[in-house]
C-alpha cells in the first residue's frame, strides 16, 4: 500500500465543476478505475463514473488522466508519479453530464448517418462468399475499435474547433474505412466523405492514433487512404479531364 492523492472532477449544482481532492491508499497492481471505485465506495457514494468491463474491451471508462485521454481501467497506478496528485477529469470534447460522465450521444447519431454495409450478392455455391485472410486483415484492424471515443476527444477539429456538424471525427473515418475496404461491400462512400463528413478538415496530426487504446493506425491506415480516394476522385487532373470527355 502506498498513499496517493487524487484530484477528481466534480460537477457542482448549476453545471460548473471543480477538482475535489481525495487521499487514499493504493495497492499493488491497481488501475485508476480501481482508485475511483475505492473513493466512490468509501468517500463519495454519488461520484459519477461510467464503466463496464474493467478489462479494456468495452470502451466505457474514457477520461483524461493527468491531462491525457485514456481508459481508466487500463491505466496502472505504478506508471503514474504518485509524488504529485493524479488528476482525473471527463473527456473535454463532449458536453458534461456529471463528474466523469459525458454526453457522447453525438457519436451514435453520426454513425447512423453513414451509408450502411451493402454486400454484393453471395457468389459461392453454398450461398455465402469466399474471402482470403489477407484481404480482411486490414478491415479486422479497424474492427478492433471499442468505441471509447478517445480519438474523438483528442481531435482538435472537434475539441478546439467544435466542428461537430461538419466533421465525423477519427472514429467514424475508421468505421467508414472498415466498410469501404470490406471485400463484400458495394456502396460508394467517397462522395459523402468529401461533402458531408468533412474528411478535408483532418490535417493528419495523428493525435488520434497516439491515444487509441487498441493501437489502430487510425491516420495511416484509415484516414489517409480515404483522403486518397477523395483526392483521386475529385482532384486528380487526369481523372477530371477524363470526366469532361465521358460526361
Amino acid at each position: 500500500m502506498s498513499a496517493a492523492t487524487f484530484k477528481i472532477w466534480r460537477t457542482l449544482p448549476g453545471g460548473d465543476g471543480t477538482f475535489q481532492t481525495f487521499h487514499t491508499e493504493v495497492a499493488d497492481g491497481m488501475v485508476v478505475l480501481d482508485v475511483v471505485h475505492k473513493v466512490q465506495a468509501e468517500q463519495a457514494p454519488d461520484l459519477a463514473v461510467r464503466w463496464n468491463c474493467k478489462a479494456g474491451k468495452c470502451g466505457s471508462c474514457s477520461a483524461e488522466i493527468n491531462g491525457t485521454p485514456r481508459l481508466m481501467c487500463m491505466t496502472r497506478m505504478d506508471e503514474l508519479n504518485l509524488w504529485e496528485p493524479v488528476t482525473v477529469e471527463p473527456m473535454r470534447a463532449f458536453p458534461p453530464i456529471k463528474d466523469l460522465v459525458t454526453d457522447v450521444s453525438w457519436n451514435f447519431r453520426v454513425k447512423k448517418g453513414i451509408t450502411k454495409f451493402t454486400p454484393r450478392t453471395p457468389d459461392a455455391p453454398d450461398g455465402t462468399w469466399r474471402m482470403a485472410q489477407r484481404d480482411v486483415d486490414r478491415v479486422q484492424e479497424f474492427r478492433k475499435c471499442i468505441e471509447c471515443f478517445l480519438c474523438q476527444d483528442v481531435c482538435h477539429v472537434l475539441r478546439d474547433h467544435g466542428k461537430f456538424d461538419e466533421f465525423i471525427g477519427p472514429r467514424f473515418f475508421v468505421y467508414t474505412a472498415n466498410l469501404e475496404m470490406n471485400p463484400l461491400d458495394t456502396a460508394d462512400r467517397v462522395p459523402e466523405l468529401k461533402h458531408d463528413k468533412g474528411i478535408g478538415y483532418c490535417n493528419i496530426t495523428k493525435c488520434c492514433t497516439t491515444v487509441c487504446p487498441e493501437h489502430i493506425h487510425i491516420t495511416d491506415n484509415a484516414i489517409i487512404p480515404l483522403k486518397e480516394r477523395v483526392v483521386s476522385r475529385y482532384y486528380d487532373p487526369i481523372t477530371r479531364l477524363l470526366r469532361v470527355f465521358t460526361s
Partner: protein, 603 residues
C-alpha cells in the same frame, strides 16, 4: 405521479447479443420495437466474449454436423438440458452465423476463404467461428450496426426497476434513466428479457457490473419460474494477479491454441484425472494433444480442453493441495509452443492479441515468454427463466427470455462457444415469437397505481439518506458469502449458513440509504441492484441445497457422485406465499431419435 410513457409492440430489456438479435427479428417482422440498455449501446457484457461461437458449419472438419454438436451439448450438460433447445440450437446455429457475415461481420478465414473454426473444450471438432480472441466484440458491433438502420428506438443507460402485469399478462415496465435519475414508464404487448447473467453475486467474477441478475429477478417477482439456478459455471481460467484484476477472463482459446496447465511442481496435472465418459476422446499423451490443437484429425483433444466444470475443479484441487502458483492459481503456459513452432511469439500475438495485450498491460507479463497465473472465476449461470423451447416464452404470458437469463439449453454445464450461438439462435426466436404474440394480442393496460408503487420502492434509499447502510458494503458482503459458501465446492451446512446470512443481508439491504441528487448516482443504483442480487443468490443457494448430488457446475463435497434420481429433474424456483419455493420438475422424455443421436456419438 406522471411519467413519460413509451409504447411499443415489443419491448426488449437488454442490448447484448440476445437483445439485439431479438430487436432485429422483431423489427423485421414489422412491429414497433423499444430496446432498453443499462449501459451505452454496444457496451454490454457480450463484448467481453473471446473464444468464438459454436456452430457445426463443418468448415474445418467435414465430419461435423448438428448431431455431433447436439450430442456434445447434451454430454456437456450432463443430460439435464432441455433437449429440444439443444436440438434447435445445434440445427440453427450455422444459419445464424452465416447471416452475421451478410451484416458485415468479418470472421477469421480458412485457407479456402471460408469462416475459420477453432477447437474448444467439449466440442468434438473445431467448431467455433471466431475473430482472434475478440469474437464478442465482433458479434455485438455487427448486430448494433445492423440494428441502428431498422427503426428500433434505443433507450441507453436505463435500468428497469420492475415489470408490471395486466391480468397475469406482461404489460410494461418502470425504468429509471441513469443520467437524469428520472423514471420512465414503458407499455408493450410483449416483453423480452435479455439481461444476461448474475456474476456480480460473487466476489471473483469475469462479469461486468451489469451482471446483477436483473432479468432473473424481474421475472421472478412477476411470478415466472426459474430453473437450474444451482448450476453456476466457474470458468477455470481467470486472472489471479494483480488483485484488482482478479477474475478477468483468460480465454479458453489459449488452451485451444496449445496452452497447457501446470502446477508448481511443473506437472501437467490434467492428465491425472480424466472422467470415464471422456476417456475415448482424450489424448493419451502430450504429443497427441499438441497434434490435436494443430488440426491433426487423427489426434484426440488434450485434457486441458475437457469441460469447464472439470478443469475448474482440478485447478481448485491443485491449489488446495499446496501445488498452486505464488498468487493462488496454477500456471497456464502458451509460451512453451516455441519448442514446436518457429515464430511462436508472432503466432501467439496473432491468435491471441487481446490476451497478449491484457497481460502486458495489467500484469506486466509477456505471455509469449512466461506462463500466466490463472484460477477459477464465476463466469456464467446455466439457470434462468424457464421458457418454452421453441418460442422462448416464459410461464407468464407475453413475457419472453433469451440468452443467459433464460435457461435450458446448457443443462448442468455450458460448453464454451455455446453462449454466443445461444444468443443469436434464441434471440432471433424470441424476437420472432414476441412479434407474433404482439400482433395477435390487444394492447395491455399499465396501471398507474402499480407504477407509482414501484417508484415509491425505488426511491426509498433516498428517504433513509446517508445514515442508512452503505449499499457498496452490503454488496461486498453478499459477494463474499456467495464466494465462500456457495462456490465451486459446496456442502449442505455451509449453504444453510449462506441462506441464513442472506436473510440478514436482506434486512441490511432494506436499510440501505443514499443522499444527494438522483442524476448518475452510482450508490443509489447499487442499492437497487441489491434486491436482484439477493433474489438470485437465494435461488442459487436453495436450489443447490436441494440437488443432493454432483453434476456439471454443481459439485457437492457431501454428495460427490451423480445420483440417478436427479438425472430426470430440474430444480424449479418460484415465488410462493411464504417466500421462495423450490420444487422438482420432471424433464420431458427425450424422443427416441435424439437418444439414438446421443448413443451414436458416444464412441
Amino acid at each position: 405521479m406522471a411519467h413519460d410513457t413509451y409504447t411499443y409492440d415489443v419491448l426488449i430489456i437488454g442490448a447484448g447479443g440476445a437483445g439485439l438479435r431479438a430487436a432485429i427479428e422483431a423489427a423485421n417482422a414489422g412491429v414497433s420495437v423499444g430496446l432498453i440498455c443499462k449501459s451505452l449501446l454496444g457496451k454490454a457484457h457480450t463484448v467481453m466474449a473471446e473464444g468464438g461461437m459454436a456452430a457445426a458449419l463443418s468448415h474445418n472438419d467435414d465430419r461435423d454436423n448438428w448431431k455431433v454438436h447436439f450430442a456434445d451439448t447434451m454430454r456437456g450438460g450432463q443430460y439435464v438440458n432441455n433437449w429440444r433447445m439443444a436440438e434447435i440450437h445445434a440445427k440453427e446455429a450455422p444459419d445464424r452465423v452465416r447471416e452475421l457475415e451478410a451484416w458485415g461481420a468479418v470472421f477469421d478465414r480458412t485457407p479456402d476463404g471460408r469462416i475459420n473454426q477453432r477447437n474448444f473444450g467439449g466440442h468434438r471438432y473445431p467448431r467455433l467461428a471466431h475473430v482472434g480472441d475478440r469474437t464478442g466484440l465482433e458479434l455485438i458491433r455487427t448486430l448494433q450496426d445492423h440494428t441502428i438502420h431498422l427503426g428500433v428506438t434505443v433507450h441507453m443507460e436505463h435500468t428497469v426497476v420492475d415489470l408490471v402485469l395486466d391480468g397475469g399478462r406482461a404489460a410494461g415496465a418502470l425504468a429509471y434513466d441513469r443520467q437524469s435519475g428520472r423514471f420512465h414508464a414503458f407499455a408493450a404487448k410483449a416483453i423480452i428479457l435479455a439481461t444476461g447473467g448474475i456474476g456480480r453475486a460473487y466476489s471473483v467474477t469475469s462479469n461486468s457490473w451489469e451482471g446483477t441478475g436483473d432479468g432473473h429477478a424481474l421475472a421472478y417477482r412477476v411470478g415466472a419460474e426459474l430453473i437450474d439456478m444451482e448450476f453456476v459455471q466457474f470458468h477455470p481460467t481467470g486472472m489471479v494477479w494483480p488483485p484488482s484484476v482478479k477474475g478477468i477472463l483468460v480465454t479458453e482459446g489459449v488452451r485451444g491454441e496449445g496452452g497447457i496447465l501446470k502446477n508448481s511442481d511443473g506437472r501437467r496435472f490434467m492428465f491425472d484425472d480424466i472422467p470415464d465418459n471422456y476417456k475415448p476422446q482424450t489424448a493419451s499423451d502430450a504429443e497427441e494433444g499438441w497434434r490435436y490443437t494443430q488440426g491433426d484429425k487423427s489426434a484426440r483433444r488434450p485434457p486441458e480442453l475437457l469441460t469447464r466444470d472439470h478443469v475448474a475443479r482440478c485447478i481448485n484441487r491443485e491449489v488446495k493441495a499446496g501445488r498452486g502458483s505464488p498468487h493462488g492459481g496454477v500456471f497456464l503456459d502458451i509460451a512453451w509452443i516455441k519448442e514446436k513452432l518457429p515464430n511462436a511469439a508472432e503466432h501467439i500475438k496473432r491468435k491471441l492479441p487481446s490476451m497478449y495485450h491484457q497481460f502486458m498491460q495489467l500484469a506486466n507479463l509477456d505471455i509469449t515468454k512466461e506462463p500466466m497465473e490463472v484460477g477459477p472465476t464465476t463466469h456464467y449461470v446455466m439457470g434462468g427463466v424457464r421458457v418454452d423451447a421453441d418460442s422462448q416464452m416464459s410461464t407468464v404470458p407475453g413475457l419472453f427470455a433469451a440468452g443467459e437469463c433464460a435457461s435450458g439449453i446448457n443443462g448442468a454445464n455450458r460448453l464454451g462457444g455455446n453462449s454466443l450461438s445461444d444468443l443469436i439462435v434464441f434471440g432471433k426466436r424470441a424476437g420472432e415469437y414476441a412479434a407474433e404474440y404482439a400482433r395477435k394480442n390487444p394492447a395491455a393496460r399499465v396501471s398507474d397505481e402499480a407504477l407509482a408503487r414501484v417508484e415509491r420502492t425505488a426511491l426509498e434509499p433516498f428517504e433513509r439518506g446517508a445514515s442508512g447502510e452503505n449499499p457498496y458494503m452490503v454488496q461486498k458482503d453478499l459477494q463474499q458469502v456467495m464466494q465462500a459458501l456457495v462456490g465451486i465446492v459446496r456442502q449442505e451446512s455451509e449453504m444453510r449458513e449462506a441462506v441464513q446470512t442472506l436473510q440478514q443481508l436482506k434486512a441490511r439491504a432494506a436499510r440501505a440509504g443514499v443522499s444527494g441528487g438522483r442524476d448518475y448516482h452510482a450508490g443509489w443504483h447499487t442499492a437497487l441492484d441489491l434486491r436482484n442480487l439477493l433474489t438470485v443468490s437465494e435461488a442459487i443457494a436453495l436450489s443447490a441445497i436441494e440437488r443432493r448430488e454432483s453434476r456439471g457446475g454443481h459439485f457437492r463435497e457431501d454428495y460427490p457422485d451423480k445420483a440417478a434420481e436427479f438425472s430426470t429433474i430440474n430444480m424449479m424456483v418460484k415465488e410462493g406465499a411464504g417466500g421462495m419455493q423450490v420444487t422438482r420438475v420432471p424433464i420431458p422424455p427425450i424422443p427416441d431419435e435424439l437418444t439414438q443421436v446421443i448413443e451414436e456419438q458416444k464412441s
